[in-house]
């Protein structure tokens, strides 16, 4: 019975510690609000909120609190992909690495992938966005968020993101690179006061959706 005494004693400690950390995480997750007022800046007509940090593969990360970050795709990526019909996200509990392909999007039988801007354990998935992929285009920085990630070392991984002072330049370069492929797009942007059209890909006849997204999303 000594065996049971020892195992049960240590199991009690381990379970208490585990439940306490789960509960703390659950409280933290529940207390975060996806929609918040972000200070919006525009680069070539695309919204680029200043509070967010960006991965060069056009995903963003928002530090909700210590070790808890929200993740999504930026407006440029959402507009470039346009009318996606379905997407796949990693399940809660899965550990994702920075730069790992974790998002899959589908359009007309083609697949596009995007990478994680951070490293950590997925704690929540935006099921609303899964049900209604159009949210990504409507509100990529609000209701179109994709994951909540528990990132134990969010400071270290943030070093690999686009430096804050270079975000405008980085986004401008991406937009110009896209417009070089189809100059008509620049005109389409200007038509309604500088905002991009809903579906940029639709204005790029002859392009492969998968190849185009691979180039811009670094996949």
């Amino acid at each position: 019975m000594t065996v049971l005494l020892v195992l049960l004693t240590f199991l009690t400690f381990i379970v208490i510690d585990y439940l306490m950390s789960r509960r703390r995480l659950a409280v933290e997750v529940a207390s975060t609000q996806p929609a918040r007022d972000l200070e919006v800046a525009f680069v070539e007509g695309f919204r680029v909120p200043r509070e967010l940090r960006y991965h060069p593969g056009h995903t963003w990360v928002l530090r909700e609190r210590k070790n808890l970050v929200r993740v999504g795709i930026d407006e440029f990526a959402a507009a470039l992909m346009g009318k996606i019909t379905r997407m796949e996200l990693p399940r809660p509990g899965l550990w994702v690495r920075q730069g790992q392909k974790i998002f899959s999007f589908y359009r007309d039988g083609e697949k596009a992938e995007m990478v994680s801007p951070t490293e950590g354990e997925v704690v929540e998935v935006n099921t609303e966005a899964l049900k209604e992929p159009a949210l990504l285009r409507k509100d990529p920085y609000g209701s179109g968020w994709l994951l909540l990630i528990h990132a134990p070392d969010d400071e270290t991984v943030s070093r690999n993101l686009v430096p804050r002072q270079l975000v405008r330049e980085w986004m401008r370069e991406a937009v110009e690179r896209l417009y070089l492929r189809q100059p008509r797009l620049a005109g389409a942007v200007a038509a309604d006061g500088g905002r991009p059209v809903e579906d940029l890909f639709a204005a790029l006849p002859g392009e492969s959706w998968t190849k185009l997204t691979q180039e811009f999303f670094l996949t």
Partner: protein
């Protein structure tokens, strides 16, 4: 401050456990083993040997397993988790020695085996190996202190001596991890057939490797949470796969041995030993099956719980050998006294606290700074000057 209560909770638990341990120590010192334990002439080894020593030494095996992998087999990618594993091993061995002081009738004579040699005794070999290996671990941990203090020259010397030290550590560990099993080879009539086997040294050694890997995963998980370090999941997943293979080898040996000795039938007899035997096997086999699945290894929580099961299976085996398997033949029923439990808990709590302090003040989670950092620069400068 809203979420500070878990830390406060664990600090309170630590202080309570420590207070009970101090009081139990007082009883042990003033009243002796009779007043502080439920041990007897019929049953002389209980929780302090079964858990604190037999399990403690095994649980600290991550140090030699990983050090051998990185420094001898040159699997450098595991380097980021070597330092915490070696620190865990060092603290583990120190605490094993502390625990032994409680169990020895005359603790002030703990040094006797070092000068009063009895080379025919397994215990003599264990005493020497544990002493030497603890010294080796000290020299493996000491570079952390030198790095912290910025003493580069002695650090360079230490790094040069690292490979011989690691080789010595692996040899010493192999010797005494198996010798702990050899201790029970002298009780073939007393130890239950489900656990007595001439293969005990081999089983103890293989199980020490498995629990060393499991402890590395366990420690990495808690360090990641406590210190906000990145979880080295790809590395831990690799360890998980290796762990599954080691567990398979262990279970194959275990059942091959039972079948070879013709005692497999006793594993289905209705007896308390049978239940505890299957508990031990279940806690080893279940994580093995789970760890062979890539999906388990990709999830930190699954990996963590598998490591916990492996550790529990290991503890169950060591306690079954040292306590459960000895009860029937001794004619005595042993259940630890509260003082024994308090001392054990206090020792474990001290281990956690010491690790936390060391991690706070020493560069445990930083990659090893090349000792050549100091001398290398002048060499480059000289080359340039030439």
């Amino acid at each position: 401050m809203k979420f500070a209560w878990p830390r406060t909770f664990w600090r309170s638990v630590f202080l309570l456990v420590l207070a009970a341990g101090v009081y139990a120590t007082w009883i042990r010192i003033t009243g002796g083993l009779g007043a502080s334990t439920h041990l007897s002439d019929e049953f002389p080894w209980g929780l302090w040997i079964g858990f604190d020593v037999l399990c403690g030494v095994g649980l600290a095996a991550g140090g030699f397993t990983l050090a051998a992998g990185v420094h001898i087999f040159n699997i450098r990618r595991y380097e980021p988790i070597v330092r915490p594993a070696i620190l865990t091993a060092f603290l583990g061995y120190l605490l094993v020695i502390v625990a032994l002081l409680y169990d020895l009738g005359r603790p002030e004579r703990i040094w006797h085996p070092l000068v009063m040699w009895n080379p025919r005794s397994v215990m003599f070999e264990v005493a020497w190996c544990v002493t030497l290996y603890t010294t080796v671990l000290f020299f493996e941990v000491f570079p952390l202190v030198l790095e912290r203090l910025g003493h580069r020259r002695p650090l360079a010397w230490m790094h040069r001596a690292m490979i011989p030290l690691v080789v010595a550590g692996v040899i010493l560990s192999t010797l005494h991890q198996s010798s702990l099993g050899s201790l029970y080879l002298i009780v073939p009539e007393k130890l239950h057939p489900l656990w007595y086997t001439p293969w005990l040294p081999l089983l103890f050694f293989v199980s020490a490797i498995s629990v060393g890997l499991a402890m590395t995963i366990f420690e990495s998980w808690h360090s990641s949470k406590a210190f906000g370090h990145q979880l080295e999941l790809p590395l831990l997943a690799g360890l998980g796969r290796l762990l599954a293979v080691v567990l398979l080898i262990y279970l194959t040996l275990r059942f091959r041995d039972l079948e070879r000795r013709g005692v497999l039938g006793q594993a289905v007899e209705p007896a308390p030993e049978t239940w505890l035997f299957w508990l031990e096997i279940g806690l080893t086999a279940l994580p093995m099956f789970l760890l062979f699945r890539a999906s388990t290894r990709r999830r930190p929580r699954s990996l963590y719980w598998c490591a916990v099961m492996v550790i529990f299976g290991f503890v169950a085996h060591r306690l079954n050998v040292s306590v459960t398997g000895m009860e029937a033949a001794s004619g005595a029923t042993y259940f630890p006294k509260w003082t024994e439990i308090s001392v054990t808990l206090a020792i474990v709590a001290l281990g956690f606290a010491a690790f936390r302090l060391a991690a706070k003040y020493l560069p445990v989670f930083e990659p090893a700074r090349e000792a050549a950092e100091g001398p290398a620069r002048p060499e480059v400068a000289l080359a340039a000057a030439d």
